[in-house]
Amino acid sequence: MTQVSISVKAVTRKYGTHPALDAISFDVKKGELFGFIGPDGAGKTTLFRILTTLLLPDEGEATVEGLDVVKDYKKIRRIIGYMPGKFSLYMDLTVEENLKFYATIFGTTIEENYHLIKAIYSQIEPFRKRKAGQLSGGMKQKLALSCALIHKPVLLFLDEPTTGVDAVSRMEFWDMLKRLKEGGITILVSTPYMDEASLCDRVALIQDGKILQLSTPQQVVDHFPYELYNVSSGDIYNLLADLRNYPGMMSCYAFGQAAHISFIKETFRETHLRDFLKEKEHNQLTIEPINPNIEDCFMELMNR
């Protein structure tokens, strides 16, 4: 039997009459890297705040490592690490002071658990006397992660750790998560960047307080119900407009300088589309079948 780390059953949380979370249920297995993927306002932070015992659910039940998020909140707080979306650091303390502060409130020391954070913290250690407020975005992120790990949590909650972070720092951050996971820790991470889904063991795609789909990233892609084609011409603006008028198309969205257009399986005829687009004076046409990515799938689910 797989051991369950987090269990959520029909959790609802409303702000006024608006349900931020609408009867959500899911399980996270021990040692899993589980991603919550969705835009702002989807309910990601509300969920994280309930699971970290900072907010009460209106309805439903949730347990973390077998502990109830309402009754056992004190015990849960001792065993989890939490990195909120807004940085959790004290900007007027130095790098080292921040880390020492978090170690102390959990009754431990930097020395005792240094081995846990060494790979990450050693990268910012040369700046340990610098104030946190003077660090770059990527360095703040590494410090915040070190602070969330210093008390040896069994479970890590990372709420949008890569939002507003550039592509290079994002990649480095996911490399760090992969290495942490190998150490056996369970990680729940949220992100609005769809391309990060493929880096998780399993993902929940979430929108308007509801889970649209929950599976492995590969299954998300496998469940895409249409055939997808990548079409480009010299003129993306008019190409999109023309493709959207093409009979039989199910959806059509811009992806960089190309368009992704979908059709019901086995209804697509390339020569027909070519003739249609040539008539509208599109030159340098390329049309090729492609596999959908998570963003294609997310948009398809949003349209259901």
């Binding site: 969705g38 835009p39 702002d40 306002g41 989807a42 770059s136 975005g137 990527g138 949008e160 939002t163 507003g164 972070v165 550039d166 592509a167 290079v168 720092s169 990649m171 609005p192 769809m194 929108q207 993306i236 603006y237 969205y253 811009a254 992806f255 960089g256 300088q257 963003e295 997310f298 948009m299 949003m302 349209n303």
Partner: protein, 247 residues
């Protein structure tokens, strides 16, 4: 093709904080009606440069003209001729849709009659009619984004600066937002935009990639992909930003 006029001219822009060069001799021009992407890692100096171009901060040295006006001596003129929108701050949550429009239009100096006409036109265009008297905090995220952009160009500015306008937005809204950007560009408004989404970099006419206060590359997305032998802009960006980090 007739060469379009330069609406932004930057020559040798330097901005120092103490001994640190936030902008280290930047030079570039932006053409009228162009969608100009301004990319770079966190701390590369993007926001510093945008603040200077918007007349919110003085450069240490360099020659800069925005919409034909000098950034040292004609900052009020610049502010009248530009629009600005960022993800972090744009609309007032506790004002209604119409109150926000009226507020911004008023700030930009439009007359009462003009405000009435333009706000009605805007509501029609965004199909926001029924939301006119709703508080911003009660309307969906996607509407907010589009409204914030429309408000930023309600005074028909020559240039609009968009600082990470689509961060955290769902993928469909993100694309609808770019439709609005294209429309504005076709109406002759120059668009100066920053983003962390690399697919959006490909929607730009030309892209600048900043690395540590300098321009590491400036060209069309097509040319950049060719030059760095990359399939997409994400690879181009990683190539430039990472080479620098490792060196």
């Amino acid at each position: 093709m007739v060469e379009k006029e330069d609406i932004i001219i930057v020559k040798d822009l330097v901005k120092k904080y103490g001994s640190f060069y936030a902008n280290d001799h930047l030079s570039f021009e932006v053409k009228k009606g162009e969608i100009f992407g301004f990319l770079g890692a966190n701390g590369a100096g993007k926001t510093t440069a945008i603040r200077i171009l918007c007349g919110l901060s003085y450069p240490t040295s360099g020659i800069l003209k925005v919409a034909g006006f000098d950034v040292y001596t004609q900052r009020d003129e610049i502010k009248k001729n530009i629009g600005y929108m960022s993800q972090k701050f744009s609309l007032y949550d506790d004002l209604t849709v119409f109150e926000n429009i009226r507020f911004y239009a008023g700030i930009y100096g439009l007359s009462k009659k003009e405000i009435e006409i333009r706000s009605n036109r805007l509501m029609e265009k965004l199909i926001l009619g029924e939301a006119r008297d709703k508080l911003i905090r009660d309307i969906p995220q996607g509407w907010k984004q589009k409204l914030a952009f429309s408000v930023a160009i309600i005074h028909d500015p020559k240039i609009v600066f968009l600082d990470e306008p689509t961060g955290g937005v769902d993928p469909i809204t993100r694309r609808q937002f770019w439709d609005l950007i294209y429309q504005a560009a076709r109406d002759g408004i120059t668009v100066f935009v920053t983003t962390h989404y690399m697919d959006e970099a490909e929607y730009c006419d030309r892209v600048t990639i900043m690395v540590e206060g300098r321009i590491a590359a400036l060209d069309t997305p097509e040319a950049l992909k060719k030059r760095y032998n990359s399939a997409n802009m994400n690879e181009v960006f990683l190539h430039l930003a990472r080479t620098k980090v490792l060196s």
